[in-house]
């Protein structure tokens, strides 16, 4: 009996210590708050006008797709002990390239495919520039990606001539707004990409090698890990994923907003990665955790609007949720609570005995 109980307790301890667990708790709590304000919040209906599923949960899944993309890219970069501040700017470059190309084309599917290839190619190339600056030149990741963050938005402005370009292409818009058997295409794509990346890094030694670089890059080199190539690959992959996020974000309204698209989303991505239990010190990463973090941020954004929180109070509300979450994740804060609980139990026992 005691054996089973202690094993259960140990398992529970492991779950509670897993940081992503608290992300899930936060998502459930936020959804619960929404359900309290409107009991029908979780219901998913079939919209006969448009012919696909609709509901708040579906909206959250759609809104989370771009964040998932950049969070996964950021996760890989952080694993090597780096950071990529340029994801938001690469998003706007990919969006600007897409809209600028599409606005001068006819709107066929072929055009959409070509545009997608060019936009993602440019995004990957920008990521590769980050990679070269970090791995070959040996600059700090923070600085090299900061350069790209500032340059990227400038490049986007040059591409569109400072304007917010609009375009028309049904196939391209389908990527962000379409549905397959009622489920949003954009979320399906995001999940497929996340699963592919996860399989690639976890079913091969790639993930371990990335972590090795993050732990101790010299030791990993002595152990035969090709640091330069891997860093180049990881930053390019982050650029590519940011490009996909940019396509998702602009395709949903078929407009690129050079000063707002992807603005400060690098912070959301870093937040998602940290909430998911990946240490910014590098050497350890969790793609599942980053996905949970991304979903949490999307849920939080949607909750703020659903509850009708005044615009001026929105940042404070988000900050409070995130601070509470980080406190819960902290081992030290939790042990403080445990300690107090134990003290209280003890004093009660003494009171009973006396």
């Amino acid at each position: 009996m005691t054996d089973v109980a202690s094993r259960l307790a140990a398992k529970r301890g492991a779950i509670v210590r897993n940081q992503a667990f608290w992300g899930v708790v936060a998502i459930v709590l936020l959804l619960a708050i929404n359900v309290i304000s409107d009991p029908g919040y979780l219901s998913i209906g079939y919209n006969s006008e448009t012919g696909h599923l609709s509901g708040n949960l579906i909206d959250i899944l759609r809104a989370s797709a771009p964040i998932l993309m950049i969070a996964v890219g950021m996760c890989l970069v952080v694993a090597t002990g780096g950071i990529d501040l340029s994801v938001g700017s690469i998003m706007v470059v990919a969006g600007a390239v897409s809209m600028e190309l599409l606005s001068s084309m006819d709107g066929t599917t072929g055009d959409a495919v070509l545009t997608l290839a060019v936009a993602l190619g440019i995004a990957t190339a920008l990521g590769a520039v980050n990679g070269v600056l970090v791995s070959v030149v040996g600059l700090q990741p923070f600085i090299s990606t900061l350069v790209m963050m500032l340059a990227g938005r400038g490049i986007a402005k040059v591409i569109t001539g400072g304007q917010n370009t609009t375009a028309d292409n049904d196939s391209f818009a389908w990527l962000a707004n379409g549905y397959i058997v009622g489920v949003p295409v954009v979320f399906l794509l995001a999940i497929v990409i996340v699963v592919l990346v996860a399989l690639l890094v976890r079913r091969s030694a790639l993930g371990l090698m990335l972590e090795a670089i993050g732990m101790d890059s010299r030791a990993s080199r002595l152990a035969g890990v090709k640091r330069r190539n891997l860093q180049l690959t990881v930053y390019s992959a982050s650029g590519l994923l940011a490009g996909i996020a940019g396509v998702f974000a602009t395709a949903s309204v078929m407009t690129v907003d050079v000063s707002r698209t992807g603005y400060q989303l690098e912070l959301d991505a870093i937040l998602a990665v940290v909430i998911g239990g990946t240490s910014l010190a590098g050497g350890k990463f969790s793609i599942g955790g980053a996905v949970i973090g991304g979903l949490l941020i999307a849920t939080l954004d949607k909750t703020v609007v659903f509850l009708g929180i005044p615009a001026s109070a929105t940042p404070a509300f988000k900050a409070i949720v995130i601070v509470v979450l980080c406190l819960l994740q902290s081992e030290r804060v939790r042990s403080l609570f445990r300690h107090r609980r134990a003290l209280r139990a003890q004093s009660q026992k003494e009171a009973v005995a006396a």
Partner: protein, 332 residues
């Protein structure tokens, strides 16, 4: 020994990047680089907002096209870096130090300009506010402000709303970023008229940061939270109104029939949408006042008195026909 070439290489790369950027950026301020036009040109420093949307683009291009060398001016155009006030203050200060003849200022943020404006006053450089006002609005610090009247424009939207919904209805407001003077003025104009009509119920207001993408995401959730029971949207710029129209369509409703959307600005995409019936009302916030500005600058330089606030007249468009009629001559 090894580290020096590496540092040198790093500088070379960043230097090359910076050069590349400078080359890219050089295209749009050709007026400022060709400064060698002799002493008879009037130098005008334009502390501008930079890329923000279709309206700003039209406004700043119009100012740049007005103050040409042929007209006897040398315009120094200084757009803000990513809408940052700090970069504007820096540009403003350097114009004062250079001793330009006039400074035109479109502030990204209203507050915090007193010290800079006082410096300009001490240097006896007249400052003219273009579009954006300052807070607190102390008109001893500047010569005049030239702008369309936000209060008047949003009042015209509100009057249309009242006439369209005699039996009342639910409405939602899509605002710009909290705290910007434009947002406060547009809210005030709307509220002062609409609050007198008991039937019109405000369901809520939320910022979408002037962005189409955010407006779509916000309004899609607002429709859900209210079971699609919203008849009117007041979007404080065109971009957000277009985002709301997409959200309405995706919810399976028809914009213009189920939900009427009114916007401010009057850019070309908005008028096209009005022509298609996706928007229901567009109030122009006229950006093309370069001519008026030129007149005022000349008056100020001649030492004449000018009014502290000069209102630029704006039009409204309330039907697809009005939009189609206006589109061919639309410059922005």
């Amino acid at each position: 020994m090894r580290s020096i070439p590496r540092v040198a290489r790093a500088f070379a790369v960043t230097g090359a990047l910076a050069l590349g950027l400078a080359a890219c950026g050089g295209g749009d301020d050709d007026t400022s680089t060709s400064g060698d036009g002799g002493g008879d040109l009037v130098t005008v420093g334009f502390v501008a907002v930079g890329p923000e949307g279709g309206w700003r683009q039209a406004n700043e291009a119009n100012v740049q096209d007005t103050f040409t060398e042929e007209a006897g001016f040398e315009l120094k155009y200084a757009p803000a870096t990513n809408l940052d006030q700090r970069s504007q203050i820096d540009a403003f200060t350097s114009f004062v130090d250079e001793g330009v003849d006039v400074i035109l200022l479109s502030a990204t943020e209203g507050a915090g300009w007193e010290d800079s404006l006082r410096r300009a006053q001490e240097a006896e450089i007249p400052v003219i506010l273009v579009d954006r006002g300052i807070e607190p609005d102390d008109n001893s610090l500047y010569v005049t402000r030239i702008a369309p009247d936000n209060y008047e424009v949003s009042t015209s939207v509100a009057q249309w709303a009242v006439s369209q919904f005699p039996d009342g209805g639910n409405y939602f407001v899509l605002e710009g970023p909290a705290g910007v003077s434009v947002v406060n003025e547009r809210n005030k104009g709307w509220d002062d008229t609409v609050s007198s009509v008991p039937g019109l119920v405000k369901v809520g207001a939320q910022t979408a940061n002037w962005s189409t993408e955010e407006a779509k995401s916000v309004f899609e959730t607002v429709l859900r939270a209210n079971n699609n029971d919203i008849q009117l949207v007041f979007a404080q710029n065109d971009e957000m109104g277009l985002g709301a129209a997409i959200a309405v369509e995706e919810a399976g409703l028809t914009p213009g029939v189920d939900v009427k959307i009114a916007t401010i600005d009057g850019t070309r995409p908005a008028l096209e949408a009005l022509g298609e019936g996706r928007l229901s009302f567009v109030a122009e916030y006229n950006p093309l006042f370069g001519e008026t500005l030129l007149e005022v600058v000349n008056q100020v330089l001649d030492g004449e008195e000018v009014e502290p606030y000069i209102v630029v007249p704006s039009e409204t468009f309330d039907s697809p026909e009005a939009a189609t009629a206006a589109l061919p001559s639309r410059q922005y």
